[in-house]
Amino acid sequence: MKKTSNVAELEAIAKQVRRDIVTMITAAKSGHPGGSLSAVEILVTLYFDKFQHDPSNPDWAHRDHFILSKGHAAPVLYSVLAECGYTPKDQLNHLRRLGSLYQGHPDVRFIPMLDASTGSLGQGLSFALGMGAAAKLDGRSSRIYCVLGDGEIQEGQIWEAAMFGAFHNVTNVVPIVDYNRIQLDGFVKDILDIEPLAAKWESFGYYPLEVDGHDIAALQAAFDDAAARTDKPTCIIAHTVKGKGVSFMEDNPKYHGSAPTAEELEKALAELA
C-alpha cells in the first residue's frame, strides 16, 4: 500500500471506498450503508495517512490499532483493509456470506488483525483502553483509535470507559464519535438525545475536538492534535452526514440498515464516478 498525506489522493481513495461499500452491500442484499458511508474519511485518513502500520506485518508490536466499536459499519472497514492489502479485495462482494472473511460484523476469528470482534454496541472503547493501557505498560508507541456511533454512546458502558480513560490518562487511545445524527429508529435527537456532546466528553475528563468528519485536512489536524496532547485524552467528535456521497441516502434514516436495490446501486455508482 502507498501511504499519503495528500488530501486529493486521500479523497480519491475515499471515493473508491464508497463505491466498494455500496457495491458489497448491494451484493449482500443486507447491511448498513448509511453509517459506513459517514465514516469513510475517518478511516481513510487513519489507515492511509496517520496510522503506524505495515500490512505485510500485522503482528508488528508497535503498530497502531483500530477498533470499530460501531461494528455494523463493517463494510467501510473491510473496504479499507482490502485497499491496504490486509485482505483480498476480490472477495469484498462475499460480504455476509457463509464462510466469508467479511462477516456481518467484524470478527477476529476470520480477520485476526482486527483485534476485537465488535457488533454488540458499547463495548469497543473499553477494549481499546485495555489495549492502550497494555501499550503504556510495555512502553510501546502504539496508538489505538476507536470509532463510536452516535447512537452507540447511549450505552452506559461507553461512559464507564470514558471515566476510566480520563482517570488513568490513557492518552494513546482516541475515541472518535461518528456523529451522523441518525440511528436505526430515526434521528438521535428524537430517540435519546446525546447533546450537549462536547460538554459531556469534557466533563468526563476528555479534551473534545469537533471537526467536519468529511474534511480530510481537518481530520489530519485533529489526529495530530490528539497525538500531541499528554495532559488528558482527546475525543474527536466528527460531524458527519449519514449516507454521505450518495444523494438519496444522505440524511435518510431508511439507509441506516437497508441495502440498495440494483437500480439504486447504479444511481449511486454514477454519483460516485
Binding site: A116, S117, G122, Q123, S126, A128, G130, E160, F164
Partner: protein, 320 residues
Amino acid sequence: MPLSTTYELKAGMATREAFGRTLAELGKTNPHVVVCDADLSKSTMTHFFAQAFPERFFSCGIAEANMVGIAAGLAAAGKIPFASSFSAFVVNKGFEQLRTVVAYPGLNVKVVGTHSGISIGEDGPSQMSIEDIALACSLPGFAVLSPADELSMAACIRLAADTVGPFFIRAGRPKAKIIYDSADGFAVGGSRELLAGADLTLMAHGLMVAECILAAQTLDAEGVSARVVDMYSIKPLDRDAVVRAARETGAIVVAEEHLADGGLGVRVSQVVAQESPCPMEFVGLSGYAESGTPDELLDKYGMRASNVLAAARKVLARKS
C-alpha cells in the same frame, strides 16, 4: 471398614484470601500478570497485588462491564489479566461482555468471582451469586473452576495463569475447611477422589466438599462406603471420574452451593445419561436466600452434611 483417609477439616483461609495471596506471589514471577478490580479489592483480596505492583493494578471503579472490556483489551495486547469482583457483580453485570468480547474471540482473561453462594451471609441476596456457575459454563471455551480450600485455590489460580484461554474461578467469603496438604495434583479438567468408596459417590465443589466428607464419615459408621470426589473443575469436567463413579458405585449425589438448575449436577447428569445411567440426587439451592449469618443460612437453605446424608439415603434406596 475404616475410611481411606482421615480429614480433620480445620478452618483455614478463605478461598478469596488464598486467591489474593497467590496473585501477589504470581506477580513476582510473571510480569505479564495484571489485575483489574471494581472497588472491592479489600474484599476480593486483590489489594495484596495492588500494594506490591501498583503499575499493574487497574482500579476500574464500580463499573464491571467496563472492567471486563479493559481486561479483554489487556489480554489482546499480551497481558494475563485477572479481573475480580464479587461473583454476583462481575458475572451478572459483565455477562454480555464476557460473551462477546472474551468468550467469542477466546481471549486470555481470568475472571475471579468472590463471595459466591449464600455463605456471604448478612449482605443478603443482592450480593449472593447462585447462578454464576450456570452462566460461566454457558460460555464456550471458558474453563470453570470452583476450589474447596486454600491450597486448591492457589493451585487453580496458578493453573489459570499458566493456561491460555478464558477462565472463571469461584471463591468464597468465609474461612474454608482445610482439605489438602499440598497444592500439587490439580489440573484443568481434573478431579480429586478424597475418599474411596463402593456403595455410592458424593460429588461436590467449593464448601460442599467438606460437607460431603462429613456425610461420608457418618455413612461409614453405618456401614455404607461412600466415595467422595472434589469436582473442582466444573468445566471441562472429568468425565472419566463421573463414568467410574456411575459404573463402580451405581449411585451419585451432587452437592453444591449454587442453584441445582444449571450447576455441576446438571453437567454430571449429562455424562451419566450418556455413558452409564444410574440413580442421582442433588443438593443445591432452589431460589434466592436472605440475610443471616453464614451458618444460619447454610442450615436453613440445606447446605449441610445432613442434607447430603438425606440425599445419599434417598439415592441408595433408589439404587436397591
